[in-house]
């Protein structure tokens, strides 16, 4: 079931079309990645989802019903541009923002205590925000965005500015919240974390959704019949005997192991046939189909459009 749907969203800012007929469907309990190069329209879409701005055209649904302002208590939002009142104390500020999201004071205090203990930052409570480092402020902001225990979380570039240890803590928290039934939207440039965390993605470029679907399905869709084989010891004339059927992309010999990467030119050849063809050539120790990384897909998808543009212009 889809927890959130956006249909045909259009948003214009003084002549510039920030979103052009954008539609996304987000499955309940999934981690959904919104990808795209800078300036593609991700933040515009996220702001519309958060009801910060309204679309010029299009419809939004939450749990099957048109999105209304009272839904906002179930939403959690960590904006890309982090910001807190610099002169205000950390604890006071967290309490204030939690209360604005509709959490009662006593409950907010209880939860804050829990989170501050969990992240081991109790000593920050009475400090002014300006006394904290950027990474520390991010941590506080993360806590604030989840304090009202939202069912639908939107994280815009959550990992930027964090060290690897804190990135791991954050990933762990995101997956934990997913396990507890929350739906999470992740906007990020970190493609490795997309593969690791996201179930579905939508790739936005030039104000349009250019690619969307499940991460596993997309990687299948974009596979280009590339395989990696490793042999140990001696191999016999591999390159010569395969050249008419495959295109060798690389051949690296290292520590007595031969790493080969090749592309299948004849697509009617099945995987089994391929393996049996490869087996006689030497002592095979591994065989893998190489699926494109999200990074490759991203660069491909965005690059293709740029190329097309260059051609049409």
């Amino acid at each position: 079931m889809n927890i959130f749907e956006a249909k045909g969203i259009v948003k214009e800012y003084s002549g510039h079309r920030a979103l052009d007929n954008v539609s996304v469907s987000i499955r309940e309990g999934s981690v959904f990645g919104i990808l795209g190069p800078n300036g593609a329209g991700k933040t515009s879409l996220i702001r519309i989802m958060n009801q910060i701005t309204a679309p010029d055209e299009g419809e939004l649904f939450y749990k099957g019903l048109p999105l209304i302002s009272s839904n906002i208590v179930e939403f959690g939002y960590l904006p890309e541009e982090r910001g807190l009142y610099k002169k205000m104390k950390v604890g006071e500020q967290a309490l204030y923002l939690a209360m604005l999201r509709g959490v009662k004071k006593t409950e907010a205090l209880k939860r804050l205590k829990f989170w501050f203990e969990k992240f081991e930052i109790q000593s920050w409570w009475g400090k002014k925000v300006e006394e904290l480092s950027k990474g520390m402020q991010q941590k506080v902001q993360f806590i604030i965005s989840v304090l009202h225990e939202p069912k639908f979380l939107i994280f815009d570039e959550p990992f930027s500015g964090f060290d690897p240890i804190n990135v791991n803590i954050l990933k762990h928290e995101i997956l934990r919240m997913k396990d507890e039934g929350a739906t999470i939207i992740l906007s990020t440039h970190n493609m490795a974390s997309v593969e690791e965390l996201c179930d579905d993605i939508a790739l936005i470029n030039k104000s349009k959704v250019v690619l969307s679907g499940a991460v596993s399905e997309i990687r299948q869709r974009f596979k280009n019949n590339t395989y990696a084989v490793t042999y140990s010891g001696f191999i016999n004339l591999i390159e010569a005997s395969l050249r008419h059927q495959y295109e060798i992309l690389s051949h690296v010999e290292k520590d007595g192991l031969h790493h080969l990467k090749f592309k299948l030119l004849d697509q009617s050849v099945s995987t089994n046939m391929l393996i049996s063809g490869l087996l006689p050539l030497g002592n095979m120790i591994s065989f893998n189909e190489v699926l494109p990384t999200m990074n490759d897909i991203f660069i491909n998808a965005v690059g293709e459009i740029i190329n097309e543009e260059i051609l049409t212009n």
């Binding site: 009801q51 910060i52 679309p55 010029d56 009142y85």
Partner: protein, 446 residues
Amino acid sequence: MNKIWIIIKREYLTRVKKRSFLIMTVLGPILMAAMFIGPAWLSQVEDNEIKTIAVIDSSKIFIGSLPETEFIKFEYLKNVKVSDIENNFKTNNYYALLFIPPSVLSSPIVSLSSNKQPSLAVRMHITNSLKRDIESLKLLKSDIDPKVLKSIETDVQVGITKLNDDGTRKEESADLQMILGIVGGMLIYFFIFMYGAQVMRGVIEEKTSRIIEVIISSVKPFQLMMGKIVGIACVGLTQFLLWIILTLTIVTSVQSVFFKKDNTFKNIQAQSIMAGNNGSNAESSKVSQISYTEVDAIYDEIKKIDFLVVIGSFIFFFLAGYLLYSAMFAAIGSAVDSEADTQQFMMPVTIPLILSVALIGNVTSNPEGPLAFWFSIIPFTSPVVMMMRIPFGVPWTEVVLSVSVLIASFIFMTWIAGKIYRTGILMYGKKVNYKELYKWLKYKNY
């Protein structure tokens, strides 16, 4: 509604807890009280010192005739050189040396030398005494009896009686109304500027610190804007009330400690008021004689003024004017990236405010005139101008008209500002002009 309340509370508490608020709250009344008490106290301190002035009168006209006061004494010296006195001020204990040349009647120039700056009071006393004496000498030479001249001297006083519409008569003097009008109008001007600027700075702070996005994903931009405006208005009211209470406390306690007899205080207060007109405390005997009646008159006047109406209108016009202007200030704050960029938008907003202060003279001298009337109806100037008129008594129809126009315009302005605000707070790095602002009015938002 509950969320607006949370915002109001934060805006209020963070400002009231600030050190600058405390300093302003304490300093304000001290300065105000000092304005009342200072001149009186100073004149007392100065007058307590007996100043002996050496006089070398080469014209031989004034020997023994210069009038002395409680604190200014003259010692007439004969056969002494000017330089002898001048070089020995430190040892001879003279406050100053007055040298009167022989030709003083034909060219009235005398010299007063001292090793310190002779006080204004001393100078005025000498000038006035010599002037009087020389004048009467000249009159005598022309065979005019100074007594006759004295009897001709006339002091005209205009007693003003105001006839109200209901037929009652009210005697009043315009001076006090004028002072009240000016003080009230100026205070509103300062409060609007001070707290309007605070709204603007608050908006800019939220925008530049980027916390704005977190907040407006929880509350509507309009709620945040109104919360801020109302919260700061409460700060203003708190400060105003504290000022009144503290000023009254300081004035009464100082009065009871330093000026034990009520009369003395009244007298001194009167002196400080009169000082502006006479420019002299030296004629204290003369002043104090007048002052008893003058002071009584002033006290009578004070009793006649309906302070409930004045303070009530002050609070209303401050609030309404502030609401009108702070909405504009909030819109300006939302449209810019830093305080430095506010200039181009501040100009048109501040001009009507400054204009209304510039009209002080016109309005207070002719509070019923067409200028005063129109500017007390136009909402951008009415808070200040109407406040200046209120102490003089304004027909209730005009007050109602002014108040309704003001309320209608701040509602309209808040609506416009809200539209600019909700778009502006999310715009960064864009050079904003009026055309752009107009476009924002038409954007679709929640």
